[in-house]
Symmetry: C2
Subunit: 192 residues, 2 copies
């Protein structure tokens, strides 16, 4: 039961983004630029950063949503599972391991990011902008996770909800869909 | 020494907002709407929320900057000092005490916000939108604090820097100043 009145058919972040659209617009734009804009990191890699941070913040809605998006973008569900279990054993490049480690440090605190972890990322070929974006994506999901859980939004239990949401995030990104569009598209999340 | 190359004369968040302007634009817009847009919370009260979160995240740059902004907006420096010391003894309304308590819980984790603390805020007269905005401002500063410290930006030691920055935040808010403007205005932050 959310702490403020949100539309019942819009769980998690979706109801919050409709509650105050003037704050939602820049949140959507920031997310779209960071997770879907031009980048040397793939969309799947960037969704893994969102996933590890949401997982460590124990935000179930965001973890489920971004795990689904990452799985769809990567075409398999092993990588996201391993990343959440232990970054060291995940089937990703050394550069991604270093960036995911930085993201996990950001989740804890900005002060937890060490010069050593930055150096490891650079040694593995990470560029300055990749390091910048990793820190900002991780920080952004610290915002999202707190927004979603701090207002006690609803977390659907049905895995199919997140698969549909993940498809939507893959196909349409983070922009707001035009009014009415949601009812027409076949991937409309099915809520209970 | 920042982890990525930032303009040396732009410490803390200021260099990051110039490093990637396409991500900076929505961050600035979100902050402007939340901290300077129409609200039943005063600008000073909203800066106190930014201050308590930054303080508890131990982000010195943000704490100093938003303490300065709050002090200038409130016309005194006792309230921000007390808020940082102990919300219970701060000379603010019961409603603000309840909202600052919620902000402090959000700093810890979204999951730390309790139904009890929300009820206390409502009993003290807080509206749904005030509760929403408190959570989102607190979450936004969890982003800022991690962004600023996660990339190891420079924290000026001179208190005069933050006074100038606080004046700027009071007079111009969070929008980007037009190019060249900074050199003309008398409140240009003096860095060392």
């Amino acid at each position: 039961m959310p702490y403020i009145p949100l539309e019942e058919h819009l769980p998690g972040i979706t109801g919050l983004l409709e509650y105050r659209r003037d704050t939602a617009a820049p949140i959507r734009e920031l997310t779209q630029v960071l997770l879907r804009g031009p980048s040397s990191l793939t969309e799947g890699e960037r969704e893994l950063i969102a996933t590890i941070v949401s997982h460590r913040n124990q935000c179930r809605f965001c973890t489920n949503a971004h795990t689904a998006a990452a799985d769809i973008l990567l075409g398999e569900d092993n990588t996201s599972a391993k990343v959440k279990q232990d970054i060291a054993i995940a089937p990703v490049s050394d550069k991604m391991k270093a960036l995911l480690t930085i993201a996990a440090q950001v989740q804890e605190s900005g002060k937890s990011v060490t010069a050593d972890s930055i150096q490891k990322a650079k040694d593995a070929g990470a560029t300055d902008i990749e390091i910048h974006d990793t820190v900002l994506i991780a920080a952004l999901f610290c915002l999202y996770n707190r927004y979603v859980d701090g207002l006690s939004t609803v977390t659907p239990a049905d895995p199919a909800f997140y698969t549909s949401l993940g498809e939507r995030l893959k196909n349409h990104g983070y922009n707001r869909l035009p009014q009415g569009y949601d009812h027409l598209k076949k991937n409309k999340p099915q809520e209970k």
